[in-house]
């Protein structure tokens, strides 16, 4: 019996069905997806998914890293040390299988950093469908950063990052900069998926090519408004900032220029801390919201009159900052309520938390209720420091 068991175990464990050497894998760093029309017999056209996958050519990457030496090499090479493979299919899985006919290595998605979705695809298809393949895949991770491209995702490859060795790595690292700016919002696959399955609207970062640059440069700035799983419009970087203030996702370090005409000066305020309180109340059948923002800021720059700052002047600056931030927040809330009817700021969730029974009764009709709901914004800015000079 023991011998039989030993033979069985030896037979089963001696080989490994899943063994695949790393040099036979092609590591996908980023996948850029678009919607394209292809001819589908008898003159008709059919929408298909187009995937462009970016994979590092490790040999060239290593050579590039070693050859930099003096540090003057950035942007000098004509091409990035990556391979872009574009395939199409009626499903993402089909398209990826087609890639097997063009790559001698097996594509591996375990190190994928970003998923960039083209504008047309995001407008016409529900993102639940788009993300389904990645959510199911055993290789891909929930930590993949999900971004929207203004225009075609594939066109983003025409840009050349200055420092990063691939467009995907640039987008990933740029997304991590949210700690310094709230002009975009970093969401990973897990967060996007949770929002979509929870029937919640969400903002996704926008990737654009900076116009007028040669070679072309990229920027992650502003956000796309996803309503019912589809892209319905964009928020500018400034509007995105204001949306961040309401949701309280600001990590500090945000800078806003603040013109104060009565002092004939422009100040740069660094928002060190933004505390938000969103209160909901249901009166009759009408929900009302009060957004209170408590902001602590430093003055880090002053342009204009050289007269030193004083405490009364700081109070004036605070009042102006209150006003400016309030205007921006009110504007973005109004735009989201009336133009997009997208509850990306989570007002519905507030109602659900505070009035769960009323929420159950109205959630089917929430979008129209939300669009009409009065929102009061109160802002209180406190300036603490003025830098090393007064």
């Amino acid at each position: 019996m023991r011998s039989l068991a030993l033979v069985l175990i030896a037979l089963m464990l001696a080989g490994c069905w899943d063994n695949l050497d790393i040099e036979r894998r092609a590591l996908v760093l980023g996948t850029f997806v678009d919607l394209v029309s292809v001819k589908a017999g008898e003159g008709g056209e059919q929408d298909q998914f187009e995937l462009t996958m970016e994979m590092p050519i490790l040999r060239r990457m290593a050579a590039r890293a070693g050859g930099g030496g003096g540090g003057g090499g950035e942007g000098q090479e004509e091409t990035l040390p990556t391979w872009r493979l574009t395939v199409t299919g009626s499903t993402f899985a089909e398209a990826m299988r087609k890639a097997a006919t063009r790559s001698e290595r097996q594509l591996f998605f375990g190190h994928q950093k970003v998923l960039l979705i083209g504008q047309e695809l995001a407008r016409r298809r529900n993102l639940v469908e788009v993300l389904d393949f990645w959510a199911r895949s055993r290789e891909s991770y929930l930590d993949i950063t999900v971004l929207l491209a203004e225009g075609r995702a594939e066109e983003i490859f025409s840009a050349r990052p200055k420092f990063a060795r691939s467009v995907s790595i640039f987008l990933q690292e740029q997304s991590e900069r949210q700690i310094r700016t709230s002009r975009f919002i970093k969401h990973n696959l897990s967060e996007v998926w949770a929002a979509l399955y929870g029937d919640r609207d969400i903002l996704l970062s926008r990737v654009t090519v900076v116009p007028g640059q040669e070679p072309l440069e990229l920027q992650v700035s502003g956000t796309g408004v996803i309503r019912e799983g589809k892209l319905v419009g964009w928020l500018t970087p400034e509007e995105t900032q204001a949306a961040h203030w309401v949701t309280g996702q600001v990590r500090g370090g945000e800078i806003i220029p603040l013109p104060v005409p009565e002092l004939k000066r422009i100040f740069s305020l660094e928002l060190c801390r933004v505390e938000n309180k969103v209160k909901s109340q249901v009166i009759g059948d009408t929900p009302t919201f009060t957004v209170k923002l408590y902001i602590t800021a430093d003055i880090i720059e002053k342009i204009g009159s050289p007269e030193p700052l004083s405490a009364p002047i700081l109070r004036q600056i605070e009042e102006r900052a209150d006003e400016l931030i309030k205007q921006r927040v009110e504007y973005v809330i109004g735009k989201l309520q009336r133009q997009y009817q997208a509850d990306v700021l989570g007002f519905g969730k507030k109602i659900e938390e505070n009035n769960p029974r009323w929420w159950e009764a109205v959630k089917g009709n929430w979008r129209s209720i939300y669009a009409q709901a009065p929102v009061t914004v109160e802002v209180q800015v406190s300036i603490r420091r003025t830098g090393m000079v007064s």
Binding site: I9, D18, H111, S190, E353
Partner: protein, 364 residues
């Protein structure tokens, strides 16, 4: 029963921890969320109290007969034939649990690290290794549990701590939107999730100090519940209720978001799966040992331990029977009600009979 097989209270404590941590830790969050939604995080703390009640009952019953196991004291209490029936029910329950745990473990391995390896091979390897340990007897099994728990449990918990910064408090709100009753009901129903605690129906006579059975069982169970509550609460806090409903293995999904500073170590979740698999292994081993022991007692065999191997075809068949991952739950549907019978029904019945028949007599 082999008199050589004795374990200390500390060994029983580690055995409890090792056998209790199995598939429920990984998939439990989804099951709870499906039933009570956003209040899922309240269920496990409450379930700890209700399950402790059941464990107290089992150990009290067993400690009334410190030198007898289930077969022995049930024969004393309800007669030979009814005792046979009781033992058979418990045996069937443990075989079912072993099959279920093995199947879910294999599904997780298949869908995370070994997709191309045939399921039959993974399952058979897993069961053979588990049966090998079971065949060595209770003492080696308990010692293996000590090593396994000390090595893997802190690392597993550390992985979950890495994800804690991603917990969002609003994923726990609103608070009790449906009122407290669904949570209480589920906490009572989930007594049956303390499946392996039923091993104390036979473990007490193996203890050097049978009077410490309750201590070993309750302390071990509390440690397990700390792990369970940490894992389930993290799952809900990170993934949110809606995503949990669609995630088959939430425990694994959550660890995909774990990252070390520096981020040069990627795919940490695979480390988690590997460690978790090591933790699941003693559960199946202990169940195979227990079922072998029960069969040995039923048929009064001198050496029951080889039965661990002889039972494998049945366990393999049951584990392999559900056609797909979605059918596993419905195929093993009987485990939940049967769990209540084994963890509550049988102990209550036997305890009352013992009270009536042996009132005032202790240490039988």
């Amino acid at each position: 029963m082999s008199t050589k097989e004795r374990i200390g209270t500390a060994e029983a404590f580690f055995l409890t921890i090792a056998v209790m941590i199995e598939v429920g830790t990984l998939i439990g969050a989804k099951d709870i969320v499906d039933k009570v939604g956003v209040d899922a995080w309240l269920v496990s703390p409450l379930e700890t109290l209700t399950s402790l009640g059941a464990i107290y009952l089992i150990t009290r019953l067993a400690m009334k007969f410190p030198h007898l196991d289930l077969a022995g004291y049930s024969r004393l209490l309800v007669g030979k034939w009814l005792a046979w029936a009781v033992v058979l029910v418990v045996w069937a329950y443990w075989i079912g649990i072993a099959s279920h745990v093995a199947r879910v473990a294999v599904d997780v391995v298949k869908s995370s690290i070994l997709p191309r390896t045939p399921m039959e091979v993974v399952l058979l390897s897993f069961l053979l290794a588990a049966a090998y340990l079971a065949k060595q007897g209770l003492e080696p099994l308990a010692r293996a549990c000590i090593i396994i728990v000390i090595v893997t449990l802190p690392l597993t918990l550390l992985l979950f701590l890495l994800v804690v910064p991603r917990v969002r408090l609003d994923n726990f709100l609103p608070f009790l939107p449906q009122g407290p009753w669904p949570v209480v009901k589920l906490a009572l129903w989930r007594i049956s999730n303390a499946e392996e605690m039923s091993l104390f129906l036979i473990l007490v006579p193996f203890l050097h100090r049978p009077q410490e059975a309750w201590r070993a069982a309750s302390y071990g169970f509390l440690v397990v519940m700390v792990v369970v509550i940490t894992v389930l609460t993290t799952c809900q806090g990170v993934l949110g209720v809606e995503k949990l409903k669609y995630t088959l293995v939430p425990g694994l999904a959550v660890t995909q978001l774990a990252e070390f500073a520096g981020t040069f170590i990627e795919r940490i979740s695979l480390v988690f799966v590997s460690m978790w698999l090591i933790l699941v292994f003693p559960s199946v081993s202990a169940l195979l040992w227990a079922t072998s022991y029960l069969l040995g007692r039923l048929f009064t065999l001198k050496d029951y331990r080889m039965l661990a191997f002889y039972q494998l075809p049945l366990v393999y068949y049951l584990a392999n029977r559900p056609k797909d991952v979605l059918e596993v739950k419905s195929f093993f549907f009987f485990l939940q009600p049967l769990g209540l019978v084994v963890l509550v029904g049988i102990p209550v019945l036997l305890y009352f009979i013992a009270l009536l028949r042996f009132r005032g007599r202790a240490g039988l």
